[in-house]
């Protein structure tokens, strides 16, 4: 009984880590620009496809694949910011949100047109293999463990980056008050561009980690829809919050899929987010908002 619970719990944590990674992408962009990137899931999908190309067509090793995908996606992210987001800088949030929804459509469509990608489903090979680890009666795949470990490492790096690095602090300043940031000599536009590159790179990372759990296909970006609740539950704008939110959503989903009637698994995340929003409108780790005139 307990081991079964533990098993579900750990599977939920592994799935939650992927949600956390996508949610991290949301949080990064939100932290720096106060907008939400609805194309985050699709960036992740594109990252997974880039990795797939490097791994199967070019035949590169796993680590080179990750590096390649991350660099390519960082470039794509910066390009998107330069072409599409910069012209609407300074306009209301909802405008930018609709633009990112449009970007999502474009990315999803483009992927189906690229020869060799298309609408097929692919599997990405990993060096972790199929071996499992027994842990107090529960069975855990090494792949899942690797996902958890890599997510934890990435989160730590990002947390330290925002806490101590000059660029990270500049990014936070840009988000809190653009005008003041300009006065302090922060190149706001370049910072925005870098943050989009960073978010896209994190998305690529998430895509590669998700590939062994799910499969690579043009609609895998819809997992981003599950990552929203994760980001909201944790409180948008908080890096630890995104991770905690992702884990909560992942675990709740895994447990409700087993203990509750059929159908609850798919909506568990959204029920959680509605409950959290009702009682804590800015999430668990969210900062309080106050409107000044």
């Amino acid at each position: 009984m307990f081991s079964q619970f533990l098993q579900l719990f750990l599977a939920g944590v592994a799935q939650g880590c992927v949600y956390a990674l996508v949610a991290l992408g949301f949080v990064l962009i939100y932290k720096a620009t106060e907008t939400v990137n609805f194309a985050q899931g699709d960036l992740m999908m594109l990252g997974a496809f880039v990795a797939l190309t490097a791994s199967t067509i070019l035949g590169w090793p796993y680590w080179a694949t990750i590096l390649f995908a991350v660099i390519v996606m960082a470039a794509v992210g910066m390009l998107i910011e330069r072409i599409v987001i910069r012209p609407v800088l300074g306009l209301p949030t909802f405008t930018v949100v609709m633009i990112t929804i449009g970007i999502g459509y474009i990315l999803r469509g483009v992927v189906t047109m690229v020869p060799g990608w298309g609408t097929e489903t692919y599997a990405l090979k990993t060096p972790f293999g199929d071996s499992v680890l027994r842990f107090g009666g529960a069975v855990l795949a090494i792949e899942q463990l690797a996902t958890i470990a890599l997510t934890a490492a990435l989160c730590l790096v990002l947390y330290l980056f925002f806490r101590y690095a000059k660029l990270g602090v500049a990014m936070q300043a840009t988000s809190q008050n653009q005008l003041a940031a300009y006065y302090m000599g922060i190149p706001v536009r370049r910072v925005n561009m870098l943050i989009w590159g960073l978010a896209a790179a994190v998305a690529a990372f998430g895509g590669i980690l998700l590939a062994p759990i799910a499969f690579v296909h043009s609609n895998m970006g819809f997992i981003g829809l599950k990552a929203f609740p994760a980001a909201v539950v944790g409180g948008f704008g908080s890096v630890p919050g995104a991770v905690v939110g992702g884990l909560i959503i992942g675990v709740v989903e895994a447990l409700s899929g087993f203990y509750l009637p059929e159908g609850f698994k798919d909506i568990a995340a959204y029920v959680v987010v509605l409950v959290v929003l009702l009682f804590m409108p800015s999430g668990i780790f969210g900062e309080t908002a106050r409107k000044k005139v």
Partner: protein, 357 residues
């Protein structure tokens, strides 16, 4: 160039500002009435959809364009209206009563969705409505003995006072009548104190509440009216397609509905109609353009790319939408040769977080 001299206050809220408007809207109405005799059956079918989407667009325009609340969950109201209509028609309820019930029930659901809106703003509201959409979709899928689940529900043609609206023309006139009624109702609402309160909330919540506007009350009202209109649209939609199932009311559908508002032009009722017409014509245009392109490009992918490009393009280059473009052209000729490019410039502001640490 036309000058309108205002000599009394009532002129401000007149339905038609000047005789020219009476003429052009009258002409439009005559053309709309004559449409079944002017166009082919296929175009008429598309016109059904345009009218239905226009009603939904009105609802969404009231919420997004006039009250400034974001909703990514309007497909849920569309579904509520459609399923209410399907169930009541199945139970033998007359059309006008079932249509009213569809509107009222959607409005009730709208109030429930509106409740979080009292505490949430911007992005959080968008995400709450979107979570709601997914939950409603799942409820419809799982509540099989009522909604039929994934196998969906079939609808019979409408019957009004014993007369069957089986033909395309009669259904067209029903849609047209309802569209005109909804439009007039909205215009009236918007020139009443309630409508002015909505606009005040959109422009600044703080100043609106300082002027004595009860934010919670008016936001809820806006959500419920918007949902009711969408419910009416949903009921007509259900009759139009004749078969409804949960996958017609997904998040994608919600986004498409918001796109009507954006492409048409946020903050104008004309925009809702123009946007609806655009969204309906787009897939046809793409299907035609497909003929000139290589075979290997999949239809779905092409549609997705074009849709995304148009959405992005409109927001960057024509933020006031189709109606905004028309306004610019009209103003250009109105004040010729004194039109300045800055007339319709968007205001930009430096971003400032409302989060406190």
């Amino acid at each position: 160039m036309r000058f309108i001299f205002k000599t009394e206050y009532a002129q401000d809220i007149r339905l038609f500002q000047h005789g020219g408007q009476v003429f052009w809207y009258g002409l439009l109405l005559v053309l709309a009435l004559a449409a079944p005799y002017l166009v082919s059956g296929y175009v008429l079918t598309q016109l059904h959809f345009v009218l239905i989407y226009a009603i939904v667009g009105f609802g969404l325009m009231l919420l997004v364009g006039y009250t400034g609340q974001i909703s990514l969950g309007h497909a849920a109201f569309l579904a509520t209206g459609a399923y209410t209509e399907a169930l009541l028609q199945g139970a033998g309820v007359p059309f006008f009563i079932s249509l009213t019930c569809a509107a009222l029930f959607s409005a009730a659901v709208g109030v429930i969705v509106g409740l979080p809106a009292l505490r949430l703003k911007g992005i959080y509201l968008a995400i709450a409505t979107f979570a709601f959409n997914i939950i409603i979709e799942e409820i419809i899928t799982r509540w099989e003995h009522v909604t039929g689940g994934n196998s969906g529900k079939l609808l019979k043609p409408i019957e009004i006072f014993g007369y069957r609206l089986g033909s395309q023309e009669s259904f067209y006139y029903l849609c047209l009548a309802l569209t005109v009624l909804c439009c007039l109702a909205l215009i009236n609402l918007l020139r009443s104190p309630t409508g002015r309160a909505f606009v005040a909330i959109r422009d600044s919540e703080v100043s609106a509440s300082c002027m004595g506007i009860n934010l919670a009350y008016y936001k809820t009202v806006s959500f419920s009216i918007s949902a009711a209109l969408t419910g009416i649209g949903g009921a007509l939609y259900a009759h139009k397609v004749g078969f409804i199932s949960p996958e017609q009311f997904t998040l994608i559908q919600s986004i498409e509905l918001v796109t009507i508002v954006i492409i048409g032009g946020v903050g104008s009722l004309h925009g809702a109609v123009l946007g609806a017409a655009f969204i309906i014509m787009l897939p046809q245009a793409i299907a035609i353009a497909k003929g000139w392109l290589p075979e290997t490009i999949p239809q779905a992918g092409l549609q997705s790319v074009v849709f995304g490009l148009i959405l992005v393009g409109f927001i960057i280059f024509e933020p006031y939408g189709l109606y905004g473009r028309w306004l610019k052209i009209r103003t250009y000729f109105d004040v010729f040769p004194f039109y300045r490019r800055g007339t319709f410039r968007r205001q930009r502001s430096y971003l400032r977080s409302e989060r406190l640490r």
